[in-house]
Subunit: 342 residues, 2 copies
DNA sequence: CAACGTTATGGTAGCGCTACCATTTTTCTG
DNA sequence: CAGAAAAATGGTAGCGCTACCATAACGTTG
C-alpha cells in the first residue's frame, strides 16, 4: 500500500509531478531545466507549461546531493560593515544575481581561526567556487583552499603565489604612491596613522616606509598604529596621539578614509589649517572624500569591480576556460584634492 | 558487483564510515551529532573519536533533503552597502555564528519585484526562519511569507500587522522627535532633505510634517527629496537645491547621516555657520556624527541590536516557545550635539 | 515477578534530484 | 535505401542523511 503523496515533503510539487503533467520522464524535465538545448523544442514548451502551472521550483538541496556539487559560491570577508568589503560583496552579489548560483557569505572577523572554521564548513557544501579576501591564509586554510576542488579567487590584493586566481591591487604601491605624493607636495614630517593593522594595512605601511626612507625622511616615531577596529572617532584619537608624540607633524597618510575623516575633523576642531599646516591623504576614496571640506586626497580603489571580476573569473573557470592571466591587477589611482594642495 | 566506494562522491567520509569505525549504526551517529543527550555517554565518546579521526563533516544538503528543513536563515535586505543594513546583518551573523544555522543573504535593491523573486527562491530551500527588512511587502511577498512555514521576523520597523514577528522602532516618531528638537532649539524654517525615499524615509518625512504642522511651520517648499540612492555628495547637492529654493532656511532634518554630513560640508564650504545660521539633525547616529565638527545631532538607532533580537526571537520560535510579544520596539534616542546648540 | 513503561539502539525506506547507461527515434552518409 | 552515427528520451540506482517504526535492554510498579 503506497501513499500517493509523500508524508514528509510539504506537498510542494516535485520533478515527478511536472513529468507526469507534461507526459514525459523525470529526467527529461531535469534536462529541460538545466540544458534546454538537449531537449526538443516541443517537449521544452510542454515542460515549461507544466512548470509554470504547478509553480515548480527545483529543490537546490536535492540537486546538490545528486550532483555532488552545489550551485553555491562561498565568499569569505573579514568584515561585513567595513565599506570596502561591503562593496566587494555587492559586486559579487550583482554579478551572480541572474545566475543559478547562490552565495554563502562568511564573516571571519579578521581571524585566521575563524577563516579555517568557515572554510571547513563551506567545503562540506562542495561549493562551485570560493572567493576569499586576502592572500595571507594560514597553512591550514591554504590547504583547505587547494583541496576545495573548485575554482578559488583571492581578492583585494595581488601577490606572487595564488592558490588559483587573484584579483586586486598592490597595497604596497598604494601606500608608496600616497606617501610620495605628500613628499612631492612639500610635506616632510609625514606620519602614518593606521587602525586594525591587517596584512593589507601592513603592506601600505611598508609602502609608506619605503617612500620615506628613500627620501631620507623616515622616523619610527612618525608611525601610529593600533589593532583596534578602524573608525572615524578612532582616527581623531590616533591623530591626537600622533601630534602629542610629534608636534612638528606636517602631514599624515591615513590607512583608510575613516581615519582620514577623523583627522580632518580634529584639524577643524583644533583650528589646524589643512592643507597649509597639515596635509592629509586617505585610502580607498569613499565618495565622501570628494565633498569633504577641504576635499581629501585619497587612493581610489576599485572594490566593486574587484567583486565583479572575481565572479567573472570563477564563472569562466567553472565553464572550463580558466583565464590566461591568473593574477589580475586592477590598480588604483591617486586622487589629488585640496587636502594636499599646498 | 558493488563498488565499495561511491563513484560520485568526492571520497569524503560519510556517516556510514563513521558508524562503521565506531561500531554503531548510522542512525546512532546521526543522533549523537544532533541530540547528544539521547545517546549514552560511552557511544557518544566513541562516535566523537571516529568523527575526529575521519574529519567527518555532515553534508548539509543531504541533511536538508532528508529532514525537509534546511538549517538556513533567509535574510533579505534592500542594500548591502548601506551601513544601516550592514549593521543589522552583522548582528544576525554574530548571533548565528555558533549555531548550526547558515545564512542565505539576499539583496533586494529596494525593489518589491526583486524581493518576490528572492522570497520564491529562498522558500524553495525550506529555511528555518526568514528575516526581512521592512513591513511594506507586496501582497505577493506577504503571501509568500505567510506560507513559508517557518518563523518570520520583519525588522527595522514596527507596525500594526506583523506577518509573524517584528523588531524595530517607529520611523515616524523618530522623524517627529528630530523635528520637534529643532523647533524647540528655536529653528523655524526647517527643511527636510531625503534621498532614496523608501517607506521608512516616507514615514520619517511624515513625522517631520506632523511636527511642523503642529507648530504651524509646515511649508511644502521646505521638503527636498529624490529617489536617487543616498550618499554624502548627494546630501551636499540636495542642500544646495533646498537653499536655492528657500534661502531663508535655518535648519534641516536629514533623512540620514550621509545626507547630514554632506550638508555639513557644504555649510563649511559656503561659510554658513552651524548651528547659528543653520541647525542640522541626522538620522541613525553613525559613529562619525559625534566627532564631526561641529558634532551633529542625530537620532540614535539600534541596528546591531535589531539583528541580534530578530535572531533571538526566531530561534525561540524554532525551539517552540514563541515570544509573548510579537512586536518588539527597540526605540531610538535623540543625541543632542553641537549642530543644533544655538 | 509478570506486566508495563522508559530509554537506548538499529533497520528500512525514502527525501527530490541527477549520473550513468540503455533504448528509441531521427538524420545523415555512400 | 540499408547501415551507421547522432540526437532525443527514458529507466535504474543511488547521492548522504533522517523520519518512522521496531526491537532490545533496562528499570518500575503492585
Amino acid at each position: 500500500m503506497i501513499k500517493p503523496r509523500s508524508r514528509r515533503g510539504g506537498g510542494r510539487p516535485t520533478i515527478a509531478d511536472v513529468a507526469r503533467k507534461a507526459g514525459v520522464g523525470a529526467i527529461t524535465v531535469s534536462r529541460a531545466l538545466r540544458e534546454p538545448e538537449r531537449v526538443s523544442e516541443e517537449l521544452r514548451r510542454q515542460i515549461q507549461a507544466a512548470v509554470d502551472e504547478l509553480g515548480y521550483v527545483p529543490d537546490p538541496n536535492a540537486r546538490a546531493l545528486a550532483s555532488a556539487r552545489a550551485e553555491v559560491f562561498g565568499v569569505l570577508v573579514p568584515s561585513l560593515t567595513n565599506n570596502v568589503f561591503a562593496e566587494v560583496v555587492r559586486g559579487i552579489y550583482d554579478s551572480l544575481s541572474d545566475s543559478p548560483f547562490r552565495i554563502q557569505l562568511g564573516n571571519t572577523h579578521y581571524s585566521g581561526l575563524e577563516e579555517e572554521r568557515l572554510l571547513q564548513l563551506f567545503g562540506s557544501q562542495r561549493p562551485a567556487a570560493l572567493i576569499v579576501a586576502g592572500i595571507d591564509q594560514t597553512p591550514t586554510s591554504r590547504k583547505l583552499l587547494e583541496n576545495a576542488g573548485c575554482p578559488v579567487v583571492q581578492v583585494m590584493e595581488t601577490g606572487p603565489d595564488p592558490v588559483d586566481m587573484m584579483v586586486g591591487f598592490s597595497h604596497f604601491d598604494g601606500g608608496r604612491t600616497a606617501t610620495e605624493h605628500l613628499i612631492e607636495a612639500g610635506y616632510r614630517r609625514i606620519g602614518f596613522i593606521g587602525a586594525r593593522m591587517d596584512p593589507r594595512s601592513q603592506r601600505r605601511l611598508a609602502g609608506y616606509r619605503a617612500a620615506m626612507e628613500k627620501a631620507g625622511l623616515f622616523d619610527p616615531r612618525l608611525v601610529t598604529t593600533t589593532p583596534v577596529l578602524s573608525s572615524v572617532p578612532l582616527g581623531r584619537e590616533l591623530f591626537r596621539d600622533a601630534l602629542a608624540k610629534m608636534p612638528t607633524l606636517d602631514g599624515v597618510f591615513c590607512n583608510n578614509d575613516d581615519i582620514a575623516l577623523g583627522v580632518l575633523f580634529e584639524c577643524h576642531r583644533a583650528a589646524i589649517d589643512v592643507p597649509k599646516t597639515i596635509g592629509i591623504v586617505g585610502f580607498n576614496d569613499l565618495d565622501m572624500m570628494q565633498v569633504a571640506f577641504p576635499s581629501i586626497t585619497s587612493i581610489r580603489t576599485y572594490r566593486y569591480e574587484i567583486g565583479r571580476r572575481a565572479v567573472a573569473m570563477a564563472l569562466a573557470a567553472i565553464a572550463g576556460d580558466r583565464p590566461q592571466e591568473r593574477v589580475v591587477d586592477l590598480g588604483f589611482e591617486l586622487k589629488r584634492r585640496e587636502s594636499t594642495a599646498r
